[in-house]
């Protein structure tokens, strides 16, 4: 049986998406936890100083959770990127009580419009599709919009022959969307199956925390899987597991370093080395294929 020609599809898609891709300046709104103490070393921290240090504790190296705009400020060349699929908005397909209210509250509290932002930007000079989840928006939960945006972004990378970098941060499914939420696991994973055929790399960066259905789908499907230090990464959350086994979990269980040791993470990379590492990897995956630097 002949292979399906995915390329034809992506060529069809090309002119349409291209028109949106004009670079703009980064949106400077940033969401950071409001604590004034580092949760790891308990030393007092200053937000401005933290920001200078890529939101890594300057006492103990704790990596604070950051949201999409801050991540992009750190990653994109000159902090410039172009967002797409920004206008999609959630519905309440199950008529689940309070979903709309919770959603609006999350919007207000986080200054974000969803748990994922999909953009095109340059990293080390190379155009890249970047997907960034924000745990700050409803626990980074994946509903229909998150699934759709990630799917479109992955297929955009496939279509335009761009590398794709995906930052995860999620508590799992958006339960208020019920079965639709579960279906996003398969939908995003299928998009990655299609990307695979174009042989464009997907580089996943796991950040704290990444659990549930997000971990059990696109988070584990990168060609390269990086992780920030000490991030919690798992399918079942620690409390669920403790509930099952009726005992405390061992130290370091489900942390990035644990996953590297267990063979599921290629490398734990400190946030300050991340851009350099991603640049090298993007380069290594593109250079050999006739690209130029």
């Amino acid at each position: 049986m002949a292979r399906i020609n995915v390329e034809t599809f992506f060529q069809k898609l090309l002119p349409r998406t291209k028109r949106n891709l004009q670079y703009g300046m980064v949106d400077d709104r940033v969401f950071v936890q409001k604590e004034h103490k580092c949760p790891t070393c308990s030393n007092p921290v200053e937000t401005d100083q933290l920001k200078e240090n890529a939101f890594v504790c300057y006492h103990c190296n704790h990596h604070f959770r950051i949201s999409a705009p801050e991540r992009l400020r750190l990653l994109a060349d000159n902090g410039e990127y172009q967002e797409f699929s920004g206008g999609l908005s959630s519905l309440n397909p199950l008529d689940f009580p309070d979903y709309e209210e919770r959603f609006s509250a999350a919007k207000e509290k986080s200054g974000l419009d969803e748990a994922v932002k999909t953009v095109v930007c340059k990293i080390g000079g190379r155009e890249t599709v970047v997907i960034v989840m924000s745990f700050q928006f409803m626990g980074g939960s994946m509903g229909s919009v998150v699934g759709e945006k990630i799917t479109r972004a992955v297929l955009l990378a496939a279509q335009r022959g761009l590398p794709c970098v995906l930052f995860t941060a999620s508590g799992g499914a958006r339960m208020q969307e019920g079965i639709y939420s579960l279906m996003q696991m398969a939908k995003t994973s299928h998009a990655i199956a299609l990307l695979e055929r174009t042989r464009m790399p997907l580089i996943v960066v796991l950040t704290d925390p990444t659990t549930g259905g997000v971990t059990a789908s696109f988070a584990m499907l990168g060609d390269i899987t990086l992780a920030e230090p000490e991030a919690l990464i798992g399918f079942a959350g620690p409390r669920v597991i403790e509930g099952t086994i009726k005992q405390k979990l061992p130290e370091g269980f489900q942390k990035s370093e644990f996953l590297q040791e267990k063979g599921f993470v290629d490398r734990v990379v400190p946030r300050k080395d991340l851009k350099k590492t991603l640049t090298f990897l993007i380069d290594a995956h593109i250079a050999i294929r006739g690209g130029k630097k």
């Binding site: 002949a2 399906i4 206008g87 199950l94 969307e177 299609l194």
Partner: protein, 323 residues
């Protein structure tokens, strides 16, 4: 236009209405249930949950036994172990060889300990994928049976990569070059269920349930009261009827009024008939067509408002496989 497509149109209309704050919800629901042709039977969602979990509910191996003329179970994932919570093998039905894969619960305490109550570990999902690749290589259609409250949430499962195992299955099953037919026969619990449920056709037994989280989990997390499971069972819309109306599944396989466990032969016969009918339909198409339709199916799931595309979704217009 199939029933699933009709349902989809209604949902789109409903979503649009919701966005524009038009109150046509009730009317649409009424239309929907007319399309279904469903008379309202007095079984509550929670009763379905109880039937789906009934200790005597027939299991995967019982159905395989009934459905096939000859069956050979195969073991192991080729990397770490064999998981008794996930079974599979090669079966002959008439002149056709099928690969069967399914979660396996026990029917008594001892068996349930061995089968881990049907909660599979990474080995189970990797065995499933191994058998699926084998089926693909030798041109065998794949039949999967879903019956799990979820993947096993334990230390062993996490450290051997349950997330990776499920994720890989989702990706690989979505492009596997052989027809796949799934039936949720009991509990369809979350990632553990969908890990073997990416298929060309998905069915549910009448009293099966399928959801992103258990009613208990939903109650304790979203309703902040673990005792509200019965309420949650309704809110989660996890019955076969719900999922058919959402267009997530393709049909419902009837059970006797008191549940599948009261007449295994009856249900197995319906199940077999349904599988063979849809296998025939799928095998009459070109494999390429089957794959295109599978791709379209899985990319289409999700309900949201898209201002640029209006009610036409991105993927509907720019399907990888053409429209």
């Amino acid at each position: 236009m199939t029933q699933r497509e009709l349902q989809k149109k209604i949902r789109e209309l409903k979503n649009l209405a919701a966005h524009h704050k038009l109150d046509i919800h009730e009317d649409l629901s009424r239309i929907a249930s007319k399309i279904e042709g469903s008379e309202s039977i007095d079984v509550t969602p929670w009763q379905r949950v109880e039937l789906a979990r009934h200790p005597n509910r027939p299991t995967t191996l019982e159905y395989i036994e009934k459905i096939s003329d000859e069956y050979l179970e195969l073991f192991g994932d080729r990397v770490f172990g064999d998981d008794p919570a996930m079974v599979g093998g090669i079966a002959r039905i008439g002149g056709v060889a099928f690969t069967f894969i399914g979660h396996q619960k026990g029917k008594n305490m001892k068996e349930n300990l061995r089968r881990n109550y049907g909660m599979a570990q990474p080995e189970g999902y990797r065995k499933a994928l191994r058998l699926a690749y084998q089926a693909e290589k030798f041109g065998r259609p794949i039949i999967t049976f879903v019956d799990t409250m979820g993947a096993f949430p334990g230390i062993s499962s996490e450290e051997r990569g349950i997330s990776e195992a499920i994720a890989r299955n989702l990706k690989e099953f979505s492009v596997l070059k052989t027809p796949i037919i799934t039936t949720v026969i009991g509990e369809g619990g979350s990632g553990g269920a969908i890990g073997i449920a990416v298929a060309d056709r998905v069915f549910m037994l009448e009293n099966a349930v399928y959801s992103v989280i258990s009613p208990e989990g939903c109650a304790s997390i979203l309703l902040r009261d673990a005792k509200k499971a019965q309420l949650a069972a309704g809110l989660m819309k996890m019955t076969a009827r719900d999922l058919l109306s959402f267009g997530i599944i393709d049909g419902i396989v009837a059970e006797p009024p008191a549940g599948a466990h009261t007449d295994l032969s009856f249900v197995a016969a319906r199940l077999k008939e349904n599988i063979l009918t849809h296998y025939k339909a799928l095998s009459s198409k070109k494999l390429e067509t089957v794959l295109k339709e599978r791709s379209r199916r899985w990319l289409s799931f999700g309900e949201f408002y898209d201002p640029e595309e209006k009610e036409e979704s991105f993927f509907k217009k720019f399907l990888p496989w053409g429209s």
